[in-house]
Amino acid sequence: MAVKETKSIQLSADDFTFVHKGERITDKQFEDKPVSYMKDAWRRFCKNKASVAAAVIIICIVLYAFITPMVSPLNSRFMDSYYSKKAPRTRYISALGILDGGVGRDFSEKGLVRAVGIGVGAEDWAGTGQVTIGDALKSKYQPMLWISDPVEKMNAKKEVTRNYSGKIDVYLEVGFMYLSVSQKEYEKIVAYEKESGLHILYPLVEDNQWNADASDANNWFKTKKNAPVHVNEKGKGVVQDYSEDLILEDNYKRDADGNPIYYEYTGGGTLETAQFKVRALYYNYYVYKNGFEPYYFLGTDSQGYDLALRLAGGIKLSLLVAICVSVINFIIGAMYGAVEGYYGGWVDMLMERVSDILGGVPFIVVATLFQIHLSNQVGPIVSLLFAFVLTGWLGTAYRVRTQFYRFKKQEYVLAARTLGARDRRIIWRHIFPNSLGTIITSCALVIPGVISSESMLSFLGIVKLGSAGSTSLGTLLADSSAIWTNYPHLMICPAIVLSLLMICFNLFGNGLRDAFNPSLRGVED
């Protein structure tokens, strides 16, 4: 066997000096800043991208709820019953063909003439009979935003019918309206017309054989069975087809000289009480009444309130209820759980039985009973709060109790007690801060639960937030539940906001839970 050659190491006396001789080897100051529990949690929370995104979305929704009422020209009590259930319509984006108040629809030829006729009538305000349909299609008051080419079909009687599909502005579709105004009001409208150049008042319509429904102010041109006609010399109506060159023949009331009549006396004796019937273009009448054009960027709800404002109110109320419940639960739950967990023994036994009983009552029964008993005295929202608070704190109390059982036997508690700290001090200064993370998490996770329960109760009609001032997301959904198939925007907006809130609060809560859990520290890295 060959002897392995080993490298010899040369050592000198210099290698054997004391490194720390003469130095103090006590701890230096921390070079790094100490990381507190909260800071650590915050750092870990920021690493969780989904939770941060959720928090940002929540903030956006809250900002929406507070900013919309400030920038909107309307207030939450403003309503217009003629513009109810209308689709979203905006001033600036409408050029792109979205949010322009338009709704896609199929038209028969008669229906199309009727819709287009509103635009013609609005342009031909003096009854000159010069405006063709082609001219009126460019009008500002033309409800038809877009018309397809006709599709010809044979019907059962072997007649050719033409059908169109198109997009109609549901605000302009309202068209004309008969109004009853006083003399003073009439003069005000005329003065406004002169000042602004808008036409509000239009000639009245004759109630004769060419007018199918005299109560409908949009029947201003001569029709037979709703089809436009030209009346020839013999007094017979010749049905006319839809084309861009067609001039609709007006059926206006005229005086002996052939000038159209704009108002009609309907009753009332004196100058103040006299009422006049006039025919107004509702779009311009709305501008006259309110000073702005009807732009609702989320549309209007089933009663004619601005949906954007209702939504803002709903978000505010839902969040307010949720946060109130969360805070109250936090306070009651923390105190109850702390006492339970700290003292233990028969105190714990007794208090556990009380919470068992409270926990056994189904929430929906509690909510119903509170509504029936209290909503007349304190209002539906406060009684809803009571219902949530009655059983809501049980979860928090249970968690706090568990935490107290965990911590109360630890050495630092014993040390505090040896130093003479009282129970109250031990509970709040020593044990409670240790269980804070769990409690905050449970509070954050209470919020989506409350929002969904609240919306469920209002949806079922157990909580009735009747008045215009207060609404919740659930009420908005319940309002739309019967009619949403025809007016989908009524359902879509509240449903999206509600779902977003739920998702974001759940993600946010999960992020908090992970952040406050020190055992996960360093796992993800």
Partner: protein, 319 residues
């Protein structure tokens, strides 16, 4: 074990009794309303007098308890079904509720647990991430939003299914007929989304925990394949908390879902509850309250006890 079960049952009965008392007092304190029609109003008023509804509350409660014990009489429906015992009114509506929820559970349990297992095995791969995102969405979105979506697509868009559940007469006088089942598919779907998502999340969480535990490592070192170890060891242990959860959902099907029953007009117990409030039929309301309390208490106790039976290591109540 028997002692523990007995103790829990007795405690539950005591709790039920106390809650019933509170509910009774709160409901009987409500002002009762008589119908507009004079003859019927007089008839009802005289019946109330005879049944002791005008006596002091404590006496009324005594009568109420006596009736339950002696003749299983929980009061009478005055408006929903005139003079029908409240118990019959309730039990008549149990079947549709139970059916819809049972179908939904039968559909969602395999799907939910399957997806959960798949996500746990593929942990942190893209499949798991897709499933987790979907689960987060479906857990958070309220059930009536699904209900609307289901109605919109299956009825309005594709016209595959009826808008609402058929009435009994339309579906051949049977809750279990095929036609009835077809009309129940939409509510079943609407119920299932949330259920599947919840189960999937729970299964995934439990299974990932067991998959990383030491006995799995031991099983692999003994030579079991990954599939064998997962099925025989991890899955079995993960089932310990999952099974009680399933049991509690099976008890929960008695209660049904208020929203789904309302949207799809299922004549079940949830709808009965809402109608009893709206029509001021307080005896039925009381019956409903007791029923729901009983279910929630029962679910709690059965879950606690079932832990002991499922996992021999857990022996509740023994010192």
């Amino acid at each position: 074990m028997a002692k523990y079960v007995l103790k829990r049952v007795l405690l539950m009965l005591l709790t039920l009794f106390i809650i019933t008392t509170i509910e009774f007092v709160l409901i009987r304190m409500l002002p009762r309303e008589l119908p507009q029609e004079k003859v019927q109003a007089a008839a009802i008023a005289s019946r109330w007098e005879a049944l002791g509804y005008n006596k002091p509350l404590l006496v009324q409660y005594g009568i109420y308890l006596k009736n339950i014990v002696t003749s299983w009489d929980f009061g009478t429906s005055w408006y929903i079904e005139f003079r029908e015992p409240a118990w019959n009114v309730l039990t008549k509506r149990l079947l549709p509720t139970v059916l819809v929820n049972l179908y939904s559970l039968i559909f969602s349990i395999p799907v939910g647990i399957g997806l959960g297992i798949y996500a746990a095995i593929r942990k942190n791969k893209w499949q798991d991430q897709v499933i987790s995102v979907m689960v987060m969405l479906f857990v958070s979105i309220p059930s009536y939003v699904y209900a609307f979506l289901v109605q919109y697509f299956l009825y309005f868009k594709w016209n595959l299914l009826p808008l609402q559940v058929y009435s009994l007469a339309d579906a051949g006088n049977s809750w279990t007929s095929w036609k009835m089942f077809v009309s129940m598919i939409s509510p079943i779907l609407a119920l299932s989304f949330g259920e599947i998502a919840g189960l999937c999340r729970f299964t995934r969480a439990e299974l990932t925990e067991t998959l990383t535990s030491d006995y799995m490592l031991l099983a692999r070192t003994k030579g079991l394949t990954k599939a064998q170890a997962t099925v025989r060891h991890a899955l079995k242990n993960a089932m310990v908390p999952i099974l009680p959860m399933l049991i509690s959902s099976f008890i929960g099907i008695l209660g049904g879902s208020f929203i789904i029953e309302q949207i799809f007009s299922i004549p079940g117990v949830g709808q009965l509850y809402l109608r009893s409030i709206n029509l001021f039929d307080y005896d039925v309301f009381m019956m409903d309250g007791v029923f729901y309390t009983f279910i929630s208490l029962l679910a709690g106790i059965v879950v606690d006890i079932s832990y002991g039976f499922i996992d021999p290591r857990i022996r509740m109540g023994e010192r």
